[in-house]
């Protein structure tokens, strides 16, 4: 059908005039959209918003007006069946989709141990390193997503915890809040040159593999294959929040945390099953807790969580994406002499929603002073079991540690009833 000498541009101009060709393109695009929708429908994901340092949930999710521990903030009504802090007004509007577990009791009040426990569902143990739950999701869901060319566990703006016995291929892949990946660019080397380099590499690698010295050579080649795929992948655009309109970014609260949350949504859309967003700026508020919260931390958190939730709703993704907001522990109900709150793991709150879980609910209860759980209490394993339930990861999944010991998923936790029925 092509005449020799017919330029591409010439062909395109003809094609553009022909109705059939235009229709074809449209059909193709529609097909793509349908496919994307289909993929989205099946693609469960989890976004963990990590409040490093330990956030005072008594000032956020479980206020105690009238108590000596109550502090300066007032509760406000929400779109759900619970009240939250007046300094989370945008989140309040989205609470129909989000719930709060108010009876966490997690006993680890040291930063490192608490972070380990909350991330893995297991208390630290010298015999074994347990995987952080993002690695579990990467292991269970990421490996099955053949179309995914970028890592299946991304940590934005922070280091992330260990993949433990699941191995380094399920370690969190770290990017900064700008979406920059260390060493992902071969600056100054054009694609053709990269191709030449890689064929030279391949010839050397194949020679070593053929020399029959065990599996390391092939394993190395496989990792390089993945790294090169990543460098060349279209899915890398998911890290480029700059492609979004300024209005969208503004709806998440703008650069910084807002951009990280927006990046998380973009990563979910290309199929990444677990994203951890580290809140910039710590929550270890031993001093001046109320001013720091209302002037700095909470307005940013408010817009980020509300922006994400609204966007997920609007895109029809809210029932597939679990959103969890927590830190390694919370802070003392008692206010100290520096108008701060200290470490506290006995009675605190975790926000969790989306993924088809029940929204708008307060699960569990603390007493009037907030220093005691007065209902059934929950452990991090119960939060992760709830997430696993929403992500359709079977709860009888058992992994095996390096020393052959069976390990239940989510530390043997149980999905929280009030969130699933």
């Amino acid at each position: 059908m092509f005449n020799q000498g017919m330029s591409r541009r010439h062909f395109m101009s003809h094609a553009a005039m022909g109705g059939a060709a235009v229709l074809g393109a449209n059909e193709f695009l529609n097909h793509l959209h349908l496919n994307a929708a289909e993929v989205k429908k099946n693609q469960k994901a989890c976004i963990l918003v990590w409040l490093g340092g330990g956030a005072p949930t008594i000032d956020m999710w479980d206020l105690k007006p009238g108590s000596k521990n109550g502090g300066e903030f007032k509760p406000i009504s929400t779109a759900g069946d619970l009240q939250i802090s007046e300094h989370l007004p945008e989140v309040a509007k989205q609470m129909d989709a989000l719930s709060v577990v108010r009876s966490m009791s997690t006993r680890e009040a040291d930063h490192m141990r608490g972070a380990y426990f909350m991330h893995s569902g297991y208390v630290p143990n010298p015999t074994v390193v347990h995987p952080t739950f993002g690695s579990v999701v990467s292991y269970e869901l990421g490996a099955k997503r053949k179309e995914l060319e970028i890592p299946s566990f991304v940590s934005i703006g922070g280091g992330g915890m260990s993949p433990g016995f699941l191995g380094m291929s399920h370690a969190p892949f770290s990017v900064n809040a700008q979406g920059q990946i260390q060493n992902a660019d071969m600056a100054g080397v054009d694609p053709a040159r990269l191709g030449a380099r890689l064929s030279m590499l391949q010839s050397i690698e194949d020679g070593f593999i053929k020399s029959d010295r065990g599996d390391a050579g092939q394993a190395h080649k496989d990792v390089y294959g993945k790294a090169v795929n990543l460098m060349r992948s279209e899915q890398m655009k998911a890290f480029k929040v700059s492609e979004e309109s300024p209005e969208t970014l503004a709806s998440y609260g703008g650069p910084g945390f807002g951009a990280s949350m927006l990046m998380a949504r973009r990563l979910v859309e290309v199929g990444v099953p677990f994203i951890e967003v580290n809140f910039p700026g710590g929550w270890d508020l031993h001093n001046d807790v109320f001013n720091t919260l209302k002037n700095q931390r909470l307005p940013i958190l408010d817009k980020g969580i509300a922006g994400l939730t609204a966007d997920l709703k609007q895109r029809g993704m809210i029932d597939d994406v679990v959103v969890i907001c927590m830190g390694e522990f919370s802070r003392t109900p008692r206010i100290n002499q520096n108008v701060g709150r200290d470490h506290w793991a006995t009675s605190w709150s975790v926000m969790i929603g989306g993924g088809g879980l029940k929204g708008g609910r307060a699960i569990g209860e603390t007493n009037a002073d907030g220093d005691k759980v007065v209902s059934e209490s929950y452990l991090p394993g119960d939060i992760w079991a709830t997430a696993a339930y929403a992500l359709r990861i079977p709860l009888d999944t058992v992994h095996t540690s390096k020393r052959g010991r069976p390990m239940k998923i989510a530390g043997g936790g149980v999905p929280i009833k009030g969130l699933i029925s």
């Binding site: 040291d110 490192m112 010298p126 015999t127 074994v128 390193v129 890592p151 260990s162 993949p163 433990g164 016995f165 191995g167 380094m168 291929s169 370690a171 892949f173 770290s174 990946i181 260390q182 060493n183 992902a184 660019d185 071969m186 600056a187 040159r193 030449a196 380099r197 064929s199 030279m200 590499l201 010839s203 050397i204 690698e205 020679g207 070593f208 593999i209 020399s211 029959d212 010295r213 065990g214 599996d215 390391a216 050579g217 394993a219 190395h220 080649k221 990792v223 390089y224 993945k226 790294a227 990543l230 460098m231 390096k402 020393r403």
Partner: protein
């Protein structure tokens, strides 16, 4: 190859190449060492081949062996120059002599200081622990070749400030919990048993273990020795910030007497006294329990646990597999692959006065350590990566540790030699590079060091990072530039050979030469071709493993 054929080959004069001991696994192989223990080791290992009806792989050629022994002993690859000289050397005892040379090299001290610092406190330094002081203690110990039992005694029994007595940092690193908690010395108990005795006792903290001979009471008896210590952290007022800053920490005696109590799974409270195997010590306040324990372990070496654990660990270091898997789980439930050999080496190690250099000398001069890492059709079952018992009929490939990789890149890119140009000029940049390598390659202390477990960020760092980029830039001072501007490397084959020797520690085969020259002829700019070749060599699987 049976003995008759071998004899025939000898008669036919094939033995004439024996000046270079790279002929093939046979009874006559020697590195040049005359130590009778090495013959004994060789016989024991050979017996395993016979019993399992396998044939060993041939002896590695000089290049393969040299790169291996450099990485294992000195912690980095040999330079191209060293390789060239070693290959030219006609001395039949050159391998045993090289082992001695490496043991006298500063690389040996640096390599084992790194190995032991990582083993004792991990790659990520725990809070309020002075890594530098521990390294200094180890560096001085290895430089003087202090006996292993003396080093162990110091690590187990020392007290004092973490900057003045570096040895205390081993135990300080394990003391990270609330001192009031019963768990406080648990990590120190479990890790000390693993490192110094090769025994995994941690599971018996909570229950008798079905597969472990240690009973729960033994864990708590051992634990009770570690109850008389605690860390003391000192702070100093900072006038500038008005806050207290960390100053120093120390390991101090803690008043403790009497037994400890523990709970069985059935909820029964039981009592345990300070007892190490048959050695019981007075449970009064005057007893310095940790010192008593350290003496039992290192001076009496009750049941030879200390020596046996070290022999197994070092064998594992050189062969990627010890006589047990893992190397630090040597209880009766986990029998050794070569029990007689392990016992004999243990006895000899004790007799030598726990001489660490002597232990390395024995291992590196064995036939098994000198074999190639290539499988042959007759020893495919000898594959510990598939869970088989190691028979040491060929070398097992080891992925480089991050420190070996970094040091090797410095050698292969000559970034460490004086006046090597812009890279060397900037100490800051070098420190920054090293930090990035440690961060990206050194993440998980829990990984099995014998299994390659690379990650995407590691591949990205090697492909696109500053170190490889500088090395392949072709700028003045870069290794590539020194090769291309060297008048003795005028022709392509010479240049390709030089780059192969620097990166892979061997000479390219003629088919590799031909293949690469073909690829490089496609380039319009020859410098680009060389840059890409060196980039590919440094990024290859062959570079990053110790074959």
């Amino acid at each position: 190859m049976n003995r008759a054929v071998m004899t025939l080959m000898l008669w036919c004069g094939l033995w004439s190449v024996a000046a270079v001991p790279s002929f093939g696994a046979d009874d006559k192989f020697t590195t040049g060492s005359s130590d009778p223990l090495i013959s004994y080791i060789n016989e024991q290992i050979r017996q395993g081949w016979t019993d399992n009806e396998i044939k060993a792989s041939p002896v590695a050629d000089d290049a393969e062996w040299l790169r291996r022994v450099y990485l294992d002993v000195a912690g980095h690859v040999p330079s191209g120059k060293v390789l060239e000289e070693f290959m030219k050397d006609k001395d039949p005892a050159k391998r045993s002599k090289l082992v001695d040379t490496l043991l006298a090299d500063s690389g040996y001290v640096r390599n084992f200081t790194t190995y032991w610092t990582n083993t004792l406190i991990g790659r990520t330094t725990p809070d309020k622990t002075n890594r530098g002081a521990l390294e200094k203690f180890l560096r001085e110990s290895f430089a003087k070749n202090r006996p292993w039992n003396e080093i162990s005694y110091d690590l187990l029994s020392s007290e004092g400030r973490f900057d003045e007595n570096g040895a205390v940092n081993y135990l300080l690193a394990q003391l990270q919990l609330d001192p009031g908690s019963d768990e406080y010395p648990v990590e120190a108990t479990a890790r000390s048993a693993r490192i110094f005795l090769g025994l995994q006792v941690q599971c018996t903290q909570c229950h008798n273990h079905p597969f472990n001979d240690w009973k729960q009471n033994q864990f708590w008896e051992f634990y009770s020795f570690f109850r008389q210590m605690r860390r003391e952290d000192h702070e100093v007022y900072n006038a500038k910030t008005g806050q207290m800053d960390e100053d120093y920490s120390e390991l101090v005696r803690r008043d403790f007497e009497g037994p400890v109590y523990y709970e069985t799974r059935a909820g029964l409270m039981l009592v345990a006294y300070p007892k190490y195997f048959q050695t019981e010590v007075d449970q009064g306040a005057e007893t310095h329990r940790r010192d008593e324990l350290a003496k039992s372990i290192t001076k009496d070496d009750t049941n030879k646990w200390l020596a046996r654990a070290m022999v197994n660990r070092m064998w594992g270091h050189y062969f990627a597999n010890g006589f047990t898997r893992p190397i630090d789980d040597m209880g009766p439930h986990n029998p050794a692959s070569h029990p007689e050999l392990l016992e004999r080496l243990t006895d000899e190690f004790i007799k030598s006065g726990y001489d660490l250099k002597q232990l390395t000398r024995w291992i590196c001069n064995t036939e098994a350590y000198n074999l190639t890492s290539r499988f042959n059709p007759k020893n495919e079952i000898d594959n510990p990566a598939n869970g088989e018992v190691p028979l040491f009929s060929h070398m097992y490939v080891k992925p480089m540790q991050v420190e070996q990789l970094y040091e090797s890149l410095l050698v292969a890119t000559s970034a460490d030699s004086a006046g090597a140009g812009s890279f060397e000029a900037s100490q800051d940049q070098r420190e920054q590079m090293k930090r990035q390598f440690m961060q990206i390659f050194g993440g998980n202390d829990d990984e099995d060091p014998s299994v390659y477990s690379g990650t995407i960020p590691q591949a990205l760092l090697m492909m696109n990072g500053a170190l490889v980029k500088t090395a392949t830039s072709g700028d003045k001072g870069s290794y590539l530039n020194t090769v291309l501007s060297n008048p003795s490397y005028k022709k392509d084959p010479d240049r390709i050979r030089a780059l192969y020797m620097a990166a892979l520690g061997r000479i390219p085969s003629s088919s590799e030469q031909k293949n690469l020259q073909g690829m490089m002829s496609q380039y319009s700019n020859p410098l680009d071709a060389y840059q890409d070749l060196y980039w590919a060599l440094l990024n290859s699987n062959e570079f990053i493993v110790n074959r």
